[in-house]
Amino acid sequence: MSEASATVHTTHEQTFVSKYIISFDHKMIGKQFLMYGLIMLLLGGALALMVRWQLAYPEKPLPLIGASENYLENSEVTTFMDGLWDNWLSQDSDDQNWLTKRMPVGIITPAFYNALFTMHATIMVFFVVMPILVGAFGNFLIPLMIGTKDMAFPALNMLSFWVAVIAALIMMAGFFVPGGHAATGWTGYPPLSSDPTWTGVDWGQNLWCISLIVLGVSSLMGSINYITTILNMRAPGMTLMRMPLVIWSLFIVAILLLLALPVLTSALAMLVLDRLAGTTFFNIEGGGDPLLWQHLFWFFGHPEVYILILPAMGIASEIIPVFARKPIFGYKAMVYAMASLAFLGWIVWGHHMFQSGMNPTLGATFMISTMVIAVPSAIKTFNWLGTLWGGNIKFSIPMLNSIAFVSMFVIGGLSGIFMASNAVDIFIHDTYFIVAHIHYVVFGGSIFGIFAAVYYWFPKMFGRMMNNKFAHIHFWISIVAFNCTFFPMHILGVGGHMRRIYNPMQYEFLQNFEGMNIFITLSAFVLGFGQLIFLYNAFYSAFKGKKAEDNPWKANTLEWSAPTPPPHGNFLTPPTVYHGPYEYSVPDMEEDFLPQIEKR
């Protein structure tokens, strides 16, 4: 903490490097994380589109790449594919370049396909949603919204970002090592992942482990910083129960990260030792147990999904009252609901392992604990509705995205109940039903939350407004294409379409689904390319957008009382807080909002 006070926050000369690269300012670090996440989003999205291409047009050359060089006649493609099916792995030869090894004649090989879906999920979870929600918004919002100058440990904060960059570079390196990138799914179950003979992937998997270990260190630095800052550096009058809900959500997430990530890190360390040092944590030959990994992974993994969704819930709880001009319905209930979600998240991991042969009593225990999660989720949903009820609702672009978040979360949450009922889960586990569910939660939830947050806080971050017309086009394309892409996946899953399969057309009965698979892929391309509008809008507006006022949305929370964009040190005078964050439409007052720094 001494460092925080030692760094003098005045407008002293800053070099380019100290301002934009090795920055200690939480706002710049937040923007750095945002850039990082958006760049990785492009990559993760490109991988997803390649996966989708293969599922709709299996064994057809990719557009552009397939047509560009040594393109084959139709009949030659068939001969080529026959050879491919006979010896899948012996495609390596010296006269091939990076591209033709993975996609000879533009056709994705099975080994490359498996790396594609593995890396798509890994990147989206660890390098897109976590950095943006926790890294970017956690950093940008916490000091501003609790009314302090910066994080408790600015240097640690800077380090946390650059360590995350190193993790990303290590992960990227995996694409270029011989044997290809990790191809065991983002869940990396051993023995598939613990012994290179089973997949033929060697350093790809090692780098995958190492990168995630490094990322775990980065995230640990971040969470320690968040917890300390929130506990120690709140402005006078900012009691815990006057904190904005998004700060509550980030606080809870920081605690989850602090407790969950070391579990993943140690599991990854065991895995990498099994691979490189001949230990046998997950190898039965030496007395290990592959199920140990599943327990460790999901003991981390379930809290992880709350890490991905809680900040988005916080964001929606922030935006909905502002545009309904009404206090949030049931502030305390919202806080307790988030805390109980976080708590329940620790005792449900077994619902990912219902078919691994666990004792049925244990299975039933995990089933009931998972079912109970529906209750805090319902409380949150109805409280958002209660906030809309009787409001004076303005459908601004952050509001539209927040309402989309609530609606998509409802669908994702309800499909979760199907999977919690383990008799049903035994049928739909590992099918496209699961893929539909994760995307309703993680895209429909977290990503729409991110959209809402970017549109809402952009004026404060960059001092400019985002273009409203582009934002509307982007919103409507996204919400329609999103549902066209992911809703039919429920139907595929119930029909018996498994996930992580290279070629659905190999299965006689899945041939009936060809039309649906093509429809999904076309929608996915619309969805994917639609995001370019968002990126264009963000980059264009950051430089050329309309100049923003200090408080364009007429909101109460402290960040809007700071100048736009906030200077080094944030506030001109240290703020004092007089009441909670959601005092909208207080009777007998002229204005319909009452900033937290103003007395009633």
Partner: protein, 313 residues
Amino acid sequence: MFKEFKFFPEQASTLAGEVDLLFYFLIAVSVFFSSLIFFLIYVFAVRYRRRSEDEKPQQIPGMLKLELAWSIIPLILTMIVFVWGATIYFDSYTPPKDAMEVYVVGKQWMWHIQHPTGQREINELHIPVNQPVKLTMATEDVIHSFYVPAFRVKKDVVPGRYTTMWFEATKTGEFHLFCAEYCGTKHSAMIGKVVVQEPAAYQDWLSGGTQNEPLEVIGEKKFQQFACQTCHADKPNSRGPSLVGIFGESIKLQNGQSVVVDEEYIRESVLEPNSKVAAGYKPVMPTFKGQVSEVSLLQITAYIKSLAKGGSN
């Protein structure tokens, strides 16, 4: 667009109808709640859309009765689903006593299936209709998952242990069999089928084809091949305990505890002989880990089981 599109795979086991019923109930609940919520959002969006900037809505910070209602109703509903689901789950867990046994070994990328009568199949499983079938399953390499959509069953095969599952087919015909757990490069090509036949046709199938030796006979040969009988010769003073009649019985261990001899215990005795040592014997049995394959181990197990059924000889 959809050639002969079917929402659910056909129901071909006793379990399928029960699972689907719960599924339909869940769909009904989900449709109800999502429609309710979307309807409310729609109504609020229309009704409370901003008309003028300075119209002030009434503040509603909370409402206890309403909040209790939307906590308690979901709780009751999920508990109904829990009890319902758990009932099916427990029922589907324990195989009936008269279940026919089949042994399954998964490996990259095929299913190897052995019948007690000695028939072996690759990626095909022949069973009679209306007869409970219990599968005892193992894997030679990585995790796979035995999945028959029409039966609504799925169970992982996990290295280092046996898993079991059972089902009773209610229809004759051919049904798809897949590996549901991603297991490496050719995972998607790990396809098979379950052939359900009338009992008579099934008997024909059993007796047809190449003359097979029953599994226990093959097991006995393996037993000799691995020289197990040098120590387990069912006579006094041999170095190991007699294996006759032990299957299904409870036996005493050196550490004073006792265990019931089942497939898992035999497996452990062969692969980790020193982890549970029978009372009155020295831990001299060597481990056969890495020497005996999962397939042979199941055959030896069938042999030891047959020693129990036939009584001593």
